[in-house]
């Protein structure tokens, strides 16, 4: 065995699967293809073992083998927060607190500032333009390189034109979102509005808006 690399038997024991299963997965899905030693033996590095652990995790969640391999490469959140807020003036502040609790003081300070800001602006918009009755739902998921934030409210379809034209009442919060987010989408219809934002841990370089965006 080379330094830092494990042969298939050791990996199989560590993961609790048969060596033949690892060979089958390698042949069928080509997700983890170990290098070969001097005698042709399979040698797995730590990254590959991590991926195999993810495959097993997805299998334990009930996914079939192919889906488990597909999902294993998808980034997994390191933390998730799901909250509901009454549509009151205090909701933006509650959103900030929920983000703080999710970050638990462990995140980059500027990233935390951006995430709290975007969360509070989106929740503020949901209070302003939502039904005024139903709760506002917020889900925040942390990943190694970014956060994904989703804010949803019931109510009628948003008019993007009128939203842009409001200058003083918080509708312009989408400008802040657009300035900070790596990507964001708005899904608005007769039953409500859902905004999803992907916020990078490292801010993207500032750039002028693309034609027609926002």
């Amino acid at each position: 065995m080379s330094s830092g690399l494990l042969e298939i038997g050791a990996v199989a024991r560590e993961l609790g699967v048969a060596a033949s299963t690892l060979r089958t997965w390698e042949r069928r899905y080509r997700l983890v293809e170990p290098r070969r030693g001097a005698q042709g033996q399979r040698l797995y590095d730590s990254e590959q073992i991590l991926v195999l652990r993810q495959v097993l995790l997805q299998l334990r969640r009930g996914n079939r083998a192919r889906a488990a391999h597909d999902l294993a490469l998808a980034p997994q959140p390191t933390g998730t927060s799901r909250e509901q807020f009454e549509p009151s003036p205090e909701a933006p502040q509650r959103a900030r607190r929920a983000i703080d609790a999710l970050l638990a003081g462990g995140a980059d300070a500027r990233f935390g500032f951006h995430l709290r800001l975007v969360a509070s602006e989106l929740v503020k918009n949901a209070v302003l333009y939502g039904s005024g009755r139903d709760p506002i739902r917020m889900e925040a998921r942390l990943f190694a390189t970014h956060a994904e934030l989703r804010v949803q409210n019931s109510g009628g379809r948003l008019s993007m034109k009128s939203l842009r034209s409001r200058r003083r009442d918080g509708g312009r919060g989408l400008d802040i979102v657009d300035a900070l987010a790596e990507a964001w989408t708005i899904d608005t219809g007769p039953r409500g509005t859902k905004i999803t934002v992907r916020l990078p841990l490292e801010p993207r370089p500032p750039s002028p808006p693309a034609a027609g965006d926002g």
Binding site: A109, R110, S120, D175, I176, A179, L180, P208, G214
Partner: protein
């Protein structure tokens, strides 16, 4: 991070955000006016300020200068140098001033240049 450091950081991050808002607004503002966010130290303050590109650029020439809603200045570390158009321009002094220079997104320092 002490509360003073946090306030200074907040102001710097709002300034970075405003740099992005200016860039975003460039070319789409018919009247030469766009909206920025108050650059005071209170993180929860996202009050809007309408300013012209020319006025904004004029303030940004001074790395110690920030644009605040009236009454939001912290007299312990900044003084109001002008007041017009619904906002104050403040200049930071002492350690806060030096930090503002270091963190200036338009400056040459490794932490400032391009970090916004």
């Amino acid at each position: 991070m002490t509360s003073e450091e946090r306030k200074g950081a907040n102001e710097g991050w709002f300034r970075e955000l405003n740099e992005r808002l200016e860039l975003r607004a460039a070319g789409r503002s018919a009247d030469g006016v766009f909206e920025i966010v108050c650059e005071c130290g209170r993180e929860e303050c996202t009050e809007r300020i309408a300013t012209s590109f020319a006025e904004y650029e004029s303030v940004r020439q001074n790395p110690r200068a920030f644009i605040l809603r009236p009454g939001h200045a912290d007299p312990g570390c900044e003084r109001v140098v002008s007041s017009a158009g619904g906002y104050d321009v403040v200049e930071k002094f002492g350690g806060a001033g030096r930090m503002a220079e270091i963190e200036d997104p338009r400056g040459d320092s490794p932490t400032g240049a391009g970090s916004g």
